[in-house]
Symmetry: C2
Subunit: 101 residues, 2 copies
Amino acid sequence: MSTLGLKLRELREQAGFSLRKAAVAIDIDIAILSKMERGERKFSKELVLKLAELYKTNTDKLVIEYLSEKVLYELGEEEFGLEALKVAEKRLRYKKNNNHE
Amino acid sequence: MSTLGLKLRELREQAGFSLRKAAVAIDIDIAILSKMERGERKFSKELVLKLAELYKTNTDKLVIEYLSEKVLYELGEEEFGLEALKVAEKRLRYKKNNNHE
DNA sequence: GTATATTTGACACTATTAGTCAACACGAGA
DNA sequence: TCTCGTGTTGACTAATAGTGTCAAATATAC
């Protein structure tokens, strides 16, 4: 199940939006938001940002959540998922330090 | 540039295969293998495994490399890439410990 | 009952990715 | 120079995945 979806649903309810109103506010179909909140469809980063703004909440954590879910989705049930994450992390650190473009 | 591509090119040359022969052996078009080795196209896991077998080399490291590249590709130039990786890692560990399906 | 909110599935549309093929460039050696 | 083996490139089509739209079904409250 999608953690990001759950969080965004909670945030929506806390902010007092119905699914319909939230969907209208960010200009998407109600069905899509419903499915996204329940993890049946993937969020786009753009929508996550729009929703964060609508609910007046901090975007960073949500973006991190969004990205990590994307990463986990890509790894699927792979046996070496953890090892791959470690390698990716190492390479990303290296890139950050040397590739200040 | 693709580390996986470079590695597989080295392995191919060490194993004494021309691009053509390797491509024929795993039943793909030469152009595809050429592009994959140079990072112009993404590898599929299936092809990585076939090539590892052809070159008689250990598959695990190559699979890990393959997965980490996939992950890094998904993260792109995201500001919070590292943070996302850490969250993903934490969640994956949790899943491994509790979700022995 | 009506009204509002959400879920579900079917469908079409678009974008992305994968596969095919032919032309091209290059160097080695006859 | 000719040609053979090697690798690169681009154009094109096919297959696949992702998105958006809509209406019907379901649920919840009044």
